[in-house]
């Protein structure tokens, strides 16, 4: 009996020869991540447990992206605590200020996470790095403290669900639409405790940006991790970024899956997840006429240069409706610079967009774009729970950058085809 890619990566990080789903293991961690919300608790726990020195200063990433630039005194205090720890411990991958980007866009971009790695992060969207063929999963702050101390962590080896995706994507349909469609199909706990392995001819041609936004939302189906077997597209992406060795794993032909789900991607339209669950998905032509007050293009799901290019293509020579606040958040400084160079920022500003510095910002209802009672937003983010972006009586509709851009122009949820 063969093994899945998830099982193989986990095995390679233990002293064991073979492991199988359901087993509890202790495994070595290659990179552990924390942010300004979760790292302060981890640092506290680390100190309380008598921690003096982190297990390896090269293997910890601390990214202050959630409430930065500091929103208020409390968030400034949290960032200060993390900064002091990072400096004292000489953490190499410490990001604050001008070099900060949204963690899950930043780490792959900077070559900090690589194929074959075992990555944990005290942030649920750590699963994003599965796009590179890494095992990556979200954990809590206490887990992060344990890794900082020992370099290891306990895991239950997950069963895997294999998604076989075939068919040619229609115009304006992206990885975001694929993953929304999948979550709509299996539900927010459809992959609870499992690995989601994405395969098939559509995936083989899917650009890295789309893979990253798909893996990013695996957690929205309850999954432990989302994963793509690395291929030529992965190699192209990592070869110019990696500063250390990495390894490609793939599933055996006779690997065991708890379920195999086939999806014809050729018939999928742009998707919209209605309030208040990411699984509440409808195709755009069934969305109806929903007026919006805000359109947010950004986040770890869709704030990459490819996303901004699509949005700019739609917004070029157009303007956001006067009733809509259009907010664009380049996810990292490198993306921001590239967007400037390509003239995308000018396109956005001419469309009356507000350009935010790289930050989580309004994605989690943090700051810079909070919704009032009764307001509606279309957002390229990943969650639309009650109160996620502001007032508990506000609403968030999740969609792709193409739909968010078209909606900003028309003042209602709309497909680019309607322009």
């Amino acid at each position: 009996m063969g093994n899945t890619i998830t099982e193989k990566i986990l095995t390679a990080h233990t002293k064991l020869k073979k492991i199988s789903a359901g087993q509890l293991i202790n495994a070595r961690v290659d990179i552990a991540l924390g942010n300004d919300v979760t790292a302060p608790i981890a640092i506290n726990e680390f100190i309380k447990a008598g921690g003096k020195k982190v297990f390896n200063k090269n293997k910890i990433a601390l990214v202050l992206d959630h409430f930065t630039p500091n929103k208020d005194i409390n968030s400034a205090q949290q960032c200060k605590a993390v900064r002091e720890f990072a400096l004292k411990q000489k953490i190499i991958h410490f990001y604050e200020g001008g070099n900060v980007g949204i963690e899950h866009a930043l780490l792959p971009e900077q070559g900090i996470v690589l194929p074959g790695d075992l990555v944990v992060g005290a942030d649920s969207h750590t699963c994003t790095y599965g796009a590179l063929g890494a095992f990556a999963t979200g954990v809590g702050s206490t887990d992060l403290a344990a890794v900082m101390l020992t370099g290891e962590l306990w895991f239950k080896v997950p069963e895997s669900i294999k998604f076989v995706i075939y068919g040619k994507l229609q115009k304006w349909v992206s990885g975001k639409d694929l993953i929304l469609h999948i979550i709509g199909r299996i539900g927010v706990d459809g992959a609870l405790y499992k690995a989601m392995e994405f395969t098939g001819e559509t995936i083989g041609k899917l650009p890295m940006a789309d893979r990253l936004s798909m893996a990013n939302m695996a957690i929205e189906a309850g999954a432990k991790n989302g994963i793509f077997a690395p291929d030529a597209i992965t190699r192209e992406y990592v070869k110019k970024r990696a500063k250390r060795d990495y390894k490609f794993y793939s599933s055996d032909a006779d690997a065991v899956y708890s379920d195999i789900i086939e999806i014809n991607a050729g018939v999928i339209e742009p998707q919209v997840a209605f309030p208040h669950l990411p699984s509440n998905v409808k195709p755009i032509n069934k969305a109806g006429k929903i007026k919006i007050d805000q359109s947010l293009i950004g986040s770890c799901t869709n704030g990459r240069i490819e996303d901004l290019r699509i949005a700019a293509q739609i917004l070029k020579k157009r303007k956001a409706a006067p009733t809509v606040r259009l907010i664009v958040i380049p996810a990292t400084p490198a993306i921001y610079k590239q967007a400037l160079k390509e003239g995308l920022i000018e396109v956005f500003m001419n469309a009356d967009a507000i350009i935010s510095p790289p930050s989580c910002g309004a994605c989690l209802g943090g700051h810079m774009g909070i919704l009032a009672e009764g307001e509606r937003a279309v957002a390229t983010t990943n969650r639309n729970f009650v109160g996620r972006m502001g007032h508990t009586k506000s609403e968030v509709y999740l969609a792709s950058p193409a739909v968010a851009a078209a909606s900003a122009v028309l003042g209602r949820i709309a497909s680019p085809e309607e322009l």
Binding site: T38, G50, H66, D72, G387
Partner: protein, 161 residues
């Protein structure tokens, strides 16, 4: 361990934004977080609950963010334990790592009404509803997780090694 308290029943997919909204995450002080526990699911929860009360959830309790602030807020508010049909995995992990007792029982959640009183006996693996003779079983906890709880959470567990 025995936990006895009134239950506060919530539905399926109670997410971490409902348990502790992100607008309060600029602090990790348990006393601060406790004041806003469950606020976006029931704004009156903290004012009306009593120490020792029990939160009851449906499927996928604690889904969403990895924020440990969620189990911290619940524990600091004085909730003795959480019983649900199932838990989201990071919430499950966090609860054991930091010592918030959580139990799974589909039958109990289906059988009980909001406001009833229950007794959870974790060593026997049973839950009883006050005034009824019927008992419900809790899904067994893996031995490793039992060890985590016995040691007082993950950090104490690894410091013992």
């Amino acid at each position: 361990m025995i936990f006895r308290g009134k239950v506060w029943k919530f539905g399926d997919n109670v997410d971490t934004d409902a348990i502790i909204p992100a607008r309060y995450l600029t602090t990790s002080d348990p006393r601060e977080l406790a004041l806003h526990c469950m606020e976006d699911a029931d704004p009156n929860f903290v004012a009306r609950m009593k120490t020792g009360d029990i939160i009851l959830g449906g499927e996928n309790f604690g889904c969403g963010s990895s924020r440990e602030h969620a189990p911290i807020a619940i524990k600091a508010a004085g909730v003795s334990c959480v019983v649900a049909k199932s838990f989201a995995r990071i919430f499950y992990r966090n609860s054991f790592n930091m010592g918030l007792p959580i139990f799974e029982s589909v039958e109990l959640v289906d059988a009980i009404k909001d406001g009833e009183e229950i007794t959870v006996d974790s060593s026997r693996g049973t839950i009883a509803i006050a005034g009824s003779t019927k008992t419900f079983t809790i899904n067994p906890i893996p031995p490793f997780m039992e060890k985590l709880i016995a040691d007082g959470g993950l950090m104490k567990h690894i410091s013992r090694k």
